[in-house]
């Protein structure tokens, strides 16, 4: 692998790892809060048991998220000093505010985890809720920085240097709002679906049906709601990308030539050499409608860009297909859940339905990762869109293969250990049976 590819792979792996734990650290506290609130209202000890079970999961996964996030704040400089030297002063505001949000998150988490016999229930519940609030806030703020890489603003680039810096204009860049909402909703989907899969498994095993059913009662409505809004947000995001980063959209769609009434490509295997797509399904007018809301609108193709400014098409397109495919599936699932609620049918009583949930456990996270691949690979060759190339930002330190190997070994071990511990707790809780 080339030096640049090693740096990119290490960054991708670190981000891809962190994003899982960061998503869980945002959503799990929310779930924990909901369960705890129900316990405080009705006094049912099973709700307390669920709160504590989710709390343990939160504690383990939060720690992994916190340390891998700390590593990222260093890795930005370790791997991309040429970027951070310019980006730091411009996009520092959201980073500073994110630091503050994370501070508050850690404080309230400490208070919640260890404050059971030291705080009044009301204050204790408030602490749990604030962990979640500041978790989502810090997630949104970090995405402001990523949004700025897609839609640079708040400075002028003169002779390889940034001048006329406006930190607030950089923070409130055009890509931020949609990207943040898209991601936070995706985190909600991924975590609630994974949780639902695990608790469905517990229900199938049958030792503590009350406990697992209660968990599903909190998870499934949240999952259904988030999965039904996500396609709308996704559609708006696509239109925004079409306007701001036409080559990214073209790569997502493997759309080679600029044309009016462009068809939508579903599936397919793009070949960048011959600029063709094999095995794809073309839906007439689809892309023009989705990108610009008009069947005859012109959609910019990759041919409008020189070869050295095009993103990798194969990876971007496949990741996009995976994300959209899963998103559609999950929206359908959400619709079924809502329909069942409306008809007052208890889906959790059907083994087939539970098995389906178990099978789908990781899919939300797969879509989440695919989405990040789309946005990151689709921005290449730029680290800062149309301002700074990734190749010009990379560290001069050689031998990145070693640090890459180290971080992969380390994270895989930590991830496996965290999963193992959660698995042990899961078995223990399931075998304990209902009270």
């Amino acid at each position: 692998m080339s030096h640049l590819m090693l740096a990119r792979s290490q960054m991708a792996f670190s981000l891809g790892f962190h994003i899982i734990f960061a998503s869980i650290s945002m959503v799990m506290p929310l779930l924990m809060t909901l369960a705890y609130r129900r316990y405080l209202r009705h006094g049912d000890p099973e709700d307390l048991r669920l709160t504590k079970a989710w709390m343990r999961g939160t504690a383990i996964l939060f720690a992994v998220g916190a340390v891998s996030g700390t590593a990222l704040s260093f890795q930005l400089g370790l791997l991309w000093p040429g970027f951070m030297e310019h980006a730091g002063p411009i996009i520092g505001m959201p980073f500073s505010l994110e630091g503050a949000a994370f501070f508050l998150e850690a404080i309230f988490l400490g208070l919640f985890l260890y404050g059971w016999d030291r705080l009044t229930p009301r204050v204790h519940l408030l602490c749990a809720a604030l962990v979640s609030v500041f978790g989502f806030l810090s997630g949104a703020l970090v995405i402001a920085a990523n949004g700025w890489m897609n839609a640079p603003s708040g400075f002028r680039w003169v002779d390889g240097r940034a001048v006329d810096i406006d930190p607030w204009a950089a923070m409130f860049n055009a890509a931020w709002p949609l990207q943040a909402v898209h991601m936070l909703v995706a985190a909600l989907q991924a975590v609630t679906l994974a949780g639902a899969g695990l608790h469905a498994l517990g229900l199938l095993r049958g030792r503590a049906p009350g406990f697992h059913r209660r968990a599903l009662g909190i998870l499934l409505p949240l999952f259904a709601a988030s999965s039904l809004v996500q396609p709308l947000i996704g559609d708006l995001s696509g239109k925004s990308v079409a306007k701001r980063q036409p080559e990214k959209l073209a790569a997502m769609e493997a759309h080679w030539t600029t044309e009016r009434a462009a068809p939508l490509l579903v599936g397919g295997w793009p070949d960048e050499e011959t600029e063709t797509v094999r095995y794809g399904l073309h839906i007439p007018y689809g892309l023009s409608v989705l990108a610009h809301g008009d069947p005859h609108a012109e959609v910019t193709g990759l041919d409008a860009f020189p070869h050295d400014e095009r993103p990798p098409v194969l990876v971007t397109h496949l990741a996009f297909q995976v994300m959209v495919g899963i998103g559609t599936l999950l929206a359908g699932l959400g619709a079924v859940i809502l329909w069942a609620r409306w008809r007052k049918k208890d889906l959790t009583a059907r083994r087939g339905w539970l098995k389906l949930l178990v099978a789908l456990t990781p899919l939300g996270f797969v879509a989440l990762e695919a989405g990040w691949i789309v946005t990151e690979v689709g921005r290449q060759p730029w680290i800062l869109y149309r301002v700074l190339r990734t190749a010009d930002a990379v560290t001069p330190v050689p031998g990145l293969g070693w640090s890459f190997a180290l971080i992969v070994t380390l994270y895989l071990t930590l991830g496996a250990l965290a999963m193992f511990l959660l698995g042990r707790w899961f078995v223990i809780e399931s075998e304990r049976g209902d009270a």
């Binding site: 720690a63 030297e85 988490l109 985890l113």
Partner: protein
Amino acid sequence: MILTLAFLLTALTAYVLFGGADFGGGVLEATLRRHPRLQDTLQRAMGPVWEANHVWLIAVVVILFVGFPVAYARLMTQLFVPVSLALLGIILRGAFFTFRKYDPEPARRLGLYALLFRASSALTPVMFGMIVAALLGGLPGKTPADATFADLYVKPWATWFGLACGLFVTALFGYLAAVFLFGETRDPADHLVLRRRVVQFFGVTFLLGGAVLGVGAWSGRIDPVAKFTLLQAAVQLGAALCIPLLWRAMNARRPWRMRLIAGAQLLFILGGWFETQTPDFARYADGTALTVAQSAAPPVTLLWLNIGLAAVLAAVVPLLAWLYRVFDAGRDR
């Protein structure tokens, strides 16, 4: 710029004080093998606060890359290896502390958890010390064309002076942890053990402090005579004066007074370092330097950063104080 630098040093001081005591906790724990009850006390005391303490490091990094991006970019490149190793320690320490706490059957894997927690708690402060040593004249300024990887990225920090600084920081953190833990128990037998540890860690820290000065002077990295300003004298005198005060507080079993005194000692030590270091982030081997002024971000960034940091501190500090108060062992009395 001065204000931003003050925020940076404040965050760094808070990290060394609070985060340092947490790393020291791992080092201290390694010396408490025959005192399982004290190990439990240590774990319980660190549990609620270590993550909040850890965030000071993120504050340091963020202030550095927003306020002093040139220094951040350059130091992350030149110190790639020791920073990566410090990170390794940070990741392992946090993960294994939590894994042990939340393992349903911790006894089964206690050996693994304890080993990794303790080893990583020592690795990070050793690297911190080596990084500081490298900032004091260790890094190469201009790089010759035929420089090897070792010349550029290993030799500047892997020095005897670096090792002395690294061990000094590790022992200092252990000392802070011992003083901190003293206030977390009221058992006379525990106090006897911790008293010994406070004295031992102080002794080792003191000797290693001498080693830092000795090796530094011998290798020409610091010049204790030429650098001996009035401020340095005051700082060292201050740190020394704390010793009898701490001894009296310990005999009187006044844990909070002990903590304040040890904190003051740390401030004196850091003050001495900051004074030596100013006005440079790094002093290079060839006599040139990476100055604070040449690393600073444009004024508009610094202005907003300062405003933001003031607001953050105003929000965070009272909440941190509340966190510590809620979990202060003295409250159970």
